[in-house]
Symmetry: C2
């Protein structure tokens, strides 16, 4: 069977995702679609709108055949680590291709950009270092450095978020020496960060979340499939502010020495956070107090996620020794997906996990802690039942 | 000036406390009353009904001249450590006497019991060890061991909670080589643990809290002074269940290795707590799951307090190297109290702290963390203003 891999967050699953999923199958001529999906905390350092289980159902409804959880240690990271984790899982699952959405839409440019940057690596790294020293944030330093290099052909615009991710997928495919064929589909209509609905039936997840939180239900029904709409009607949706109370408690009961051990805590930030939290009455206020030229909003949100889940540098180090995923946590599958798995099961290079109680790995310990954290804000007895479910839920069958 | 020391929790201040306060002044012929009071977490391992600041006001209204915070490292401990901390503060403040309430009511028996147990120390310790090995709780082992010893005279009934505390005050007075004269006042009417109102105007704090939480307001007005009644009408009152959500989050984001570092966590308990918390929907449920013959309810509540405040063995060790208080944190004073302090200030053996921002000590760090923890459950912007107040509130003047 010909399998295409996709890397998703589905926060929530919308018409643009449906388009990407169908086009991915089409352009790669695939029989089955394997989705690697972030768990309860996302790449931009935010709690997911609805849990990974709800989003797995959306993915299966949308046409995915296997839904695999991208471990927390890759999911809540900058593009490079995020892509490395995702590609390593798709490679382990013997995907023939990977198809990602991008602003650019032409796959050749991704490979060319990869080769160009590999050739100019030394110069590129020199500039990155230089711009970082000047106080720019890491993503801004990347963009500026790329602009400094003299290009001999038309390359990618690496200031676009989906181009950046795509570039890192292609890089990981090359450097992990996989034989996955990369494909890209031009993103339809909405920009990644758009906060309003720009075309009639396609909108960015950002704009959909915004509409949801402002109880502006009317337009959502036009831009998401009916199963997403039904799920969002029946499930309470989460956002950072709901976790602020726990975050404040966590920060205020940690010493600065303990805060310094949290993953992504850079020297001195722990003192700023300890001082800022006392008078912050909301997550928004805390972020505004912390924001500087050097630290992007996303970078700070990720840091807050790691404080909330209490994930320490040492834990991430232990869980990412190889830089690749070391287990495959199955969240859901279709009948086709089940058959595919049955075929490749005996050749899997890393363990396949259906129930977490049967397996142990430093990365999985973090995934469980993250799920536990996500579930803390629900009222009892719902909280207890969700916590138990994390241990006992078998993959969702569709 | 002749100063009598008293050791209190005032949770809340009631008519029995008023009686004890007045009798203490009378029997010791004191000009001023110095109260050492637990902060936001109490000896039985519970959050105080209202904050230490509210209870300081009650103490001043009731007639105390100085209110000093008993540091967390003594306040949330078994009787022996509790008494050691309290007596060391009263000694530093040059109290002439200490007057405690007891079921027994005759001071000579306390001194006799102290001398008797000192004489039979070896035998007593042998029995305690033996009963602990048999799985009895520490307080139960003390009672049983005491019963084993052959007494030559009428000694204290050391199964009564206030007799036990009194015994430890007298022991501390002797062993710290202070010249504090001990006095005792027989407790009027209500027993410490009584949960119903047994006489018309005296009731135990336990029964008052019970009446409060069951919104049975009518009888309270008869058993507390008007200032307590007014305070309880205007302030939200706290209990363990209000902190359960934070406790559950704290436990579920700590590894068993991290839990094992928490103060009073005995070997193996961390595993039982980690397992029990998942399905506990309330503090009551958690406690019922943890309760055994070996661990008293109080012992387990104290442990939960230390988890909630994240106080580790290492921290308590650093903060209690001498076994005595190393600072005097002033919460409130009357005009008389202010004059008294002015007189003795230059001879104080340990620092007097009016504002916490000006002083640093491992014990004070824990006190601040405990206050921060206590304040976490209040809604914003109240929470932020309480947190700031903890740093900036000067002693309350009355």
């Amino acid at each position: 069977m010909n399998a295409v891999g996709i890397v998703v967050e589905y926060n929530p699953f919308h018409n643009g995702h449906q388009y990407h999923l169908e086009r991915s199958k089409e352009v790669t001529n695939a029989d089955i679609v394997i989705a690697v999906m972030s768990g309860n905390f996302l790449q931009r350092g935010e709690p997911a709108l609805v849990s990974k289980w709800e989003r797995t159902k959306m993915a299966l409804h949308g046409g995915c055949d296997l839904v695999i959880e991208l471990p927390y240690v890759f999911a809540t990271q900058k593009a490079e680590n995020f892509a490395n984790g995702a590609v390593s899982i798709l490679h382990a699952l013997k995907c023939n291709s990977l198809c990602f959405g991008s602003e650019h839409g032409e796959i050749n440019s991704f490979q060319q950009t990869y080769e160009f940057l590999k050739k100019h690596e030394e110069q590129y790294n020199y500039y990155i270092k230089k711009f970082m020293k000047e106080g720019y944030s890491y993503p801004r330093a990347l963009t500026l450095s790329f602009q400094q290099l003299e290009k001999d052909s038309e390359l990618l615009d690496l200031s676009q978020p989906n181009n950046i991710l795509g570039y890192h997928y292609v890089k990981a495919i090359n450097e992990q020496k996989t034989n996955i064929a990369p494909f890209t589909v031009k993103r339809a209509a909405a920009g990644y960060h758009d906060t309003s609905f720009s075309s009639s039936n396609i909108a960015s997840a950002t704009s959909i979340r915004k509409a949801l939180f402002h109880h502006n239900e009317n337009p959502i029904i036009n831009v998401v499939p009916s199963f997403t709409y039904a799920s969002l009607q029946n499930t309470s949706t989460q956002q950072w502010e709901h976790y602020f109370s726990l975050l404040k408690y966590a920060i205020m009961t940690m010493s600065t020495e303990e805060l310094a051990k949290i993953y992504e805590m850079e020297e001195g930030l722990e003192n700023r956070i300890s001082a800022a939290i006392v008078e912050s009455e909301s997550f928004q206020q805390l972020m505004e107090k912390l924001k500087t030229k050097r630290y992007t909003w996303t970078r700070l949100q990720r840091l807050c996620t790691h404080i909330l889940t209490k994930v320490k540098k040492e834990e991430i180090k232990k869980a990412t020794l190889t830089g690749k995923a070391e287990y495959i946590r199955l969240l859901g599958m279709s009948e086709n997906g089940r058959r595919y798995l049955k075929n490749i099961k005996k050749d899997l290079p890393i363990p396949l996990i259906a129930k977490v109680s049967a397996f142990s790995h430093p990365g999985l310990t973090i995934d469980i802690k993250a799920a536990h954290t996500y579930n803390q804000i629900f009222p009892e007895p719902l909280r207890s039942s969700l916590l138990k479910a994390e241990f006992s839920t078998p993959p969702i069958m569709y």
